[in-house]
Symmetry: D2
Subunit: 337 residues, 4 copies
Amino acid sequence: MIFLRCDYSEGAHPQILEALVKTNMEQTVGYGEDPHCINAAQMIRKRIGREDADVHFFVGGTQTNFTSITAFLRPHEAVIAPARAHICVHETGAVEARGHKIVTVPTTDAKLDPDQIDETIRYHEDEHFVKPKMVFISDTTELGTLYKKSELQEIKKRCEKYGLYLYLDGARLASALTSPENDMTIEDIAHLTDAFYIGGTKNGALFGEALILLNPELKKEFRWIMKQSGSMLAKGRLLGVQFEEFFKDNLYFELGQHANDMSKLLRDGIAAKGYRFLTDSPSNQIFPIFPNKLVSELEEKISFEKECPVGDNEYCIRFVTSWATPKEDIEKVLAML
Amino acid sequence: MIFLRCDYSEGAHPQILEALVKTNMEQTVGYGEDPHCINAAQMIRKRIGREDADVHFFVGGTQTNFTSITAFLRPHEAVIAPARAHICVHETGAVEARGHKIVTVPTTDAKLDPDQIDETIRYHEDEHFVKPKMVFISDTTELGTLYKKSELQEIKKRCEKYGLYLYLDGARLASALTSPENDMTIEDIAHLTDAFYIGGTKNGALFGEALILLNPELKKEFRWIMKQSGSMLAKGRLLGVQFEEFFKDNLYFELGQHANDMSKLLRDGIAAKGYRFLTDSPSNQIFPIFPNKLVSELEEKISFEKECPVGDNEYCIRFVTSWATPKEDIEKVLAML
Amino acid sequence: MIFLRCDYSEGAHPQILEALVKTNMEQTVGYGEDPHCINAAQMIRKRIGREDADVHFFVGGTQTNFTSITAFLRPHEAVIAPARAHICVHETGAVEARGHKIVTVPTTDAKLDPDQIDETIRYHEDEHFVKPKMVFISDTTELGTLYKKSELQEIKKRCEKYGLYLYLDGARLASALTSPENDMTIEDIAHLTDAFYIGGTKNGALFGEALILLNPELKKEFRWIMKQSGSMLAKGRLLGVQFEEFFKDNLYFELGQHANDMSKLLRDGIAAKGYRFLTDSPSNQIFPIFPNKLVSELEEKISFEKECPVGDNEYCIRFVTSWATPKEDIEKVLAML
Amino acid sequence: MIFLRCDYSEGAHPQILEALVKTNMEQTVGYGEDPHCINAAQMIRKRIGREDADVHFFVGGTQTNFTSITAFLRPHEAVIAPARAHICVHETGAVEARGHKIVTVPTTDAKLDPDQIDETIRYHEDEHFVKPKMVFISDTTELGTLYKKSELQEIKKRCEKYGLYLYLDGARLASALTSPENDMTIEDIAHLTDAFYIGGTKNGALFGEALILLNPELKKEFRWIMKQSGSMLAKGRLLGVQFEEFFKDNLYFELGQHANDMSKLLRDGIAAKGYRFLTDSPSNQIFPIFPNKLVSELEEKISFEKECPVGDNEYCIRFVTSWATPKEDIEKVLAML
């Protein structure tokens, strides 16, 4: 069985695992205050060009998202997000469970159109409505699309106009930043957002996300909210050790690049055979549309997710490549089509 | 200034106020356990043909809605509601503040289409999604439309199919049940829903809504949740006294009828002059579309809400009639058009 | 049956009721933005000597308390309160239901000792603990005791030292400020607290509490939280009308004085007969200790609450007098002893 | 520096780490539905003698506690717990943050006295109080003490009498069950509680706790609450792999035994030198009382936590031994005294 189901099917990249083994018997304090976390945070600050940033390490993305929103917003404040955003769909209402409404806006490509911010603000006129206070976007998005620098700048501009925080979910940031269509650096993101996270789980860590707090308003007593949210790992250094590996050289980006290379190979191969895609996604998630019969055949040999039916005779499916996807798997898949 | 802004501009209907004055110096226990509340609850049970119902009195509708949802649902369970529903828009996220997501479905007339229930259920496939457990509808709706008996039956059928509670917000139930297009009785509603409330605030009470719990699963320890939600009035008998007046004869329905009569007069008059409406609403809220210039002129003499622009030159506004609207006001308004 | 069970057994003081009747058919906007609320708020600001205060009207005390705490605190912040405080006992966990821990400190007289603030702060050392951010006290307390000005000043001093908000629950503020042992004015309270409320329900209003926000940090977008908490009365002017009556002359304090006069008569009479009290409470709640047999006899003729057994043969009970208690009732009770 | 600060200073026991390395490149589905989790759950069911149990794996203890409480209780229901319980102190109000009050009872040894259950139930009489619905205890407790079988049976009896769930926090269950004073088996615990968890983090896992749901009422849709609580690890099999190692032979208990052996050596040595202890704790946490001067000297060479001052001249400190504590460290410490 070939796995194109998700980018977290395996354990960790061997270099990361080796670092965990090597440091295993070190004795440190817990909860992220150990030398590895301190060092990894400093590496990240340097790499993103923001020495003033606060860096907090989390085990997973859902945790990172709801802990941040819990910390950032007052009870009546709401989040604006594309209807396809992870927090709107696949987190079992974790944001609402902490008391906040997400005002969703419709999209075809899972990207927020800056004008939708204006429309949303206009609609929420007084104290009978929630008050939008934060914009949530993902890069890459849940449909594998990505933001251009000019788009992010425009979104930022609207956020500043209305006093909204801009938060970027970077679960797949490695794939975004190494996409052939990307024109941003991680420094750009660190200068255009109020907070974002650098995803590790989907890019070769055993687990781990690094949340970057840039706006000083968002930093105060953040660790209290982390602990209360169950987001503080006892042996916190496990997160520091992994992010040290990601950022001591260039591993973080190399793994994203590999996933993108494999996905490009697959995408080009599928397109060459004449199939269409749900959306144009130049990253490690692609959404080809196949005849139902073909989908059934593929399911016997490949593990993947089914997105949605397209008319009566076709189905859109999702293929996800990762840091661990071997080129041979792609070739085998193309041979099946 | 003529008030067509809402149906809660005045105090109480004189008969209700008189009852409050008359009982003012009685000494009773508090929190809704007094003889007036007990008596009013019994009157209601009889009137709706459900001797088994639990009846709880609330001061306002927002309270009634979120207290009920808090009591009925587990943390991961969600509400399905039309996007125009009061809980989705005008309650400042009170439902989300208690931890529950509202899954909204689009509508043009603020009414839920039964098929939308099926679609919503299909989409929420596993534990990564919230679990829809309750359907929320209003009668009349927030656009003044209402449900036919066959529609409510069909919604109930889907709810039973999927194990969903059906809750009906009756803030304007008096107007619904006395509408010329209505084909339901209050007994029908008490047999087709799991819970609903009989709205008093918008029908001539000083304040007050009577929540009716029909499904035994929803009754357990409800008063604990009421108290925790701040929904238990110390001098609870004020609510009982008012609902006794509503239901000892036929006052509740007479007041709804008056509001509808005034609105029919107004609606017919506006239509006769050739104006269009946003939607066909045979109840005490109507949504005529006027040229912008006319709207500006009307604003100087009438207090009303502006709904939304219609193209560049027209505006949809809302006129609401009430138990207290005098016929002369309607005639004056028609004369202005 | 004589009612000494609570101070909210009747409706409203006749002067207040009359004002409600007189204004009944006025047409105003809702939700507390009407002329009566605006006027009453201005009267209160003047009376408390704080023109800068924000005034918000609520229907009940539980609502006022949890809405305030919800608005004032971030999720990890906690309240310090005496273990007997109303929010710790009789509000069904309404504060915890909004996510905040109450750190309770033991007391014998329901009053907070300033040193308990220091001890509590010392104990909560880092992000593994909640962070105390607010002190909650009641005047009079739940045991009918009251704070001296010097005590309130000392509590305020500690609050300032640790950056804590000081909130005073004034459900029975009228009784506190007219107690023979009181040495504070309402102006003092308005200068020593960050927020407090002036209780109406237990002092002759049909219902109603006036929350006074003094610290500017606490004012921002408070109405959003009110609405979300279900604390915004549709026909809000009912609250304004009542507080106008309280403060246009001196009615608020006269009613408190009457309750205290009746309670003094009762207390002195009981003491003269040689009975003891649980605590010395110079206000409208008293806690005499009677032989069990006497308690049983009294229960047949008087409605009151039983507090706690004292040894095997005696019981402490609570008598509450109110604005409406007639002198004859007190005389009859004393005759029974 | 010798580490006696906590039992999670190192990474994982080598055998566990090796299993993680060995399975690293396996491709599995995520979120705990992989073969390792399924297998580990089955091993545990067999080991505890409850084939009917549901087993869920968590990353940490705070998560396990609040996710369980969130899933088990309705909004007005509360937890009874000893005031020293982890959830009352060191979880930053995580339980209250999900809306539930913890009713704390005082203790000297961190153990719940069964009579305290009766007293608590008596006090919470009606809907103005929260409703206790669950008892929370830890074994070993936060002071290193443990429950005898007869004590647990008695607590269970009271829980059954009042319809309370009994939950046992087993963060240090390995130490409890291998203590010289223990008279319970893990099977006993699985027959006397409604839910408990088997702690891994403090007993040699990289991280991980196994929650065991025994009462069928507690099982329904638990995974929804897990996901919403951020408690579902993407690469869930990391937890399964570790618990397979714990339970395929006897590793779980051997590691607890080692920690206890080291602590016994230390405790006996300290006692032999004439020092007292705060409480008698026959497990891997001990609380000796030393002169202040000695404490200062020890701090230079040993990492440990300071518990509380004892009079003016002494201090109670905490020493924690673990699966990884070498005998030589104990000998060195004893030599310093």
